[in-house]
């Protein structure tokens, strides 16, 4: 931060020294924010990759995919560690906008993984504890996933589950679709009870759309099953052709 002396000739030198100290403080904050944003972006990218991978669980070996997705989460823990280190004392909310996107995407990924493994909604603890353990920390300090980020993350989960269930139909996993339909309906109903803020309300609309799409899928499965109730629906094409 070498300010060329010649270029700024002040009538009042005090103003210069004042602004020099401002400059230092602003730069510190900005640099910190930049580093946090970068970590957050990396979290987003890695999380999106995990989601992409998990979508393949429809067609490939579920256990294998789960295993791999857990490995892929490892590097994310370190990124969280970096962010936590940047946050000093009471500054969680000062920089929250800088990392909220990454946190949300991570929650989307990890809740998707949890659903595929256990068929249930991930509790907040199950998100925080692995981070703590991986980073070898007793506590995350004030770094606590906010209720808003958690809510926004699991709203997006519904979109991924909708895509997942469309995949399920193409391979004949019909029960899975009905389960997902119930699951999302419970989530949507849970949210409806709350005094929601604007961000969540707008994402809720997306969730409703996903729910309607899954309902349509379930409807079409039911209607086909009803016509020949005793028949297995899924046909192995390769058998037919040979």
């Amino acid at each position: 931060n070498e300010n060329n002396e010649k270029e700024s000739i002040f009538n009042e030198p005090k103003i210069k020294s004042m602004f020099s100290s401002f400059s230092k403080k602003l730069d510190e904050d900005n640099d910190r924010r930049e580093r946090i944003v970068k970590n957050s972006r990396d979290i987003t990218i890695a999380s999106k990759r995990v989601i992409s991978l998990l979508q393949r669980a429809v067609w490939e070996d579920k256990q294998e995919i789960l295993k791999q997705s857990k490995q892929n989460l490892q590097p994310i823990f370190n990124l969280f560690g970096n962010i936590i280190k940047e946050l000093d004392q009471q500054e969680y909310w000062k920089f929250q906008k800088a990392f909220t996107n990454g946190v949300q995407e991570y929650i989307e990924a990890v809740s998707f993984q949890y659903y595929i493994e256990f068929g249930a909604l991930i509790p907040l603890d199950s998100i925080l504890i692995p981070i703590k353990e991986a980073l070898n920390l007793d506590s995350l300090g004030q770094f606590n996933i906010s209720i808003d980020d958690y809510a926004l993350g699991i709203c997006d989960l519904s979109g991924e589950l909708m895509r997942y269930s469309t995949g399920c139909v193409t391979v004949g996993k019909y029960d899975e679709c009905f389960k997902i339909c119930d699951f999302i309906r419970s989530m949507s109903s849970g949210f409806k009870k709350c005094h929601l803020n604007k961000d969540i309300t707008s994402k809720m609309n997306t969730m409703e759309e996903s729910l309607k799409k899954i309902e349509k899928l379930c409807f079409s499965i039911r209607i086909r099953k009803s016509e020949f109730p005793d028949q297995q629906i899924k046909v192995d094409i390769n058998d037919m052709i040979e």
Partner: protein
């Protein structure tokens, strides 16, 4: 899943209540802000008698409100709710700084403003006048002084414009020392260039007509 959503509901409800309380306090701070803005306006009139002291008196009830806010909001949540008072506090700071400059021809520093308003010093989680807001107040100052400059000439005060010119030139040079991102301050700083230009035109008019006594 139901337990989960019940704790959700509770937490969101608390947040909602807190926000209601903050709004309540703000309805007491906003009239002060309005009053001060009005006082600043009178400085532009030919027959102005406003004084910095009067502003200080008007500001008295602020401290009590700030104290209430401090009680209400845990340090860790300070930044979460800051948007509620950010604008008013910036405006009030500007009014004080403007009045002070016009009277003393000198800049009220950030820590001076803080102590007047009963705010804490600038450190994480403390309830303070943020640097960012102080800078915005300085941008407002530049804008108001460029207008004040014209009104000085109307009152046949030909000395003050040069002082304003020197001061805003310094302020502008000060901002140039900052590494501004593409944010709101950057935008306001960009428009400060027009204030300076306007002030230069006034000084030019005075200068070319030789109105100032050398």
């Amino acid at each position: 899943m139901e337990n989960l959503f019940e704790s959700f509901t509770e937490e969101l409800e608390q947040d909602f209540q807190l926000r209601q309380n903050i709004k309540e306090i703000m309805t007491k701070i906003e009239p002060i802000d309005r009053k001060l803005s009005q006082m600043v306006q009178t400085y532009h009139q030919v027959n102005n008698t406003m004084s910095y002291q009067q502003l200080l008196e008007e500001i008295q009830p602020m401290k009590a409100q700030i104290d209430q806010l401090k009680l209400l909001i845990k340090p860790v949540l300070y930044y979460k709710y800051r948007d509620y008072w950010k604008f008013s506090i910036t405006q009030i700071s500007f009014s004080l700084i403007f009045s002070y400059w016009v009277e003393k021809k000198s800049l009220l520093k950030i820590d001076q403003v803080q102590s007047i308003l009963g705010l804490d010093e600038n450190k994480p989680g403390s309830f303070s006048l943020e640097l960012e807001d102080y800078l915005i107040a300085l941008c407002n100052l530049s804008n108001e002084l460029s207008r004040y400059c014209l009104n000085c000439v109307i009152k046949q005060d030909y000395e003050t414009p040069s002082l304003i010119s020197k001061f805003i030139s310094d302020l502008f040079a000060g901002f140039r020392l900052l590494n501004l991102k593409n944010d709101i301050i950057r935008k306001r700083y960009d428009s400060m260039k027009y204030d300076l230009k306007r002030i230069e035109e006034v000084v030019y008019d005075i200068s070319v007509r030789n109105l100032i006594k050398k």
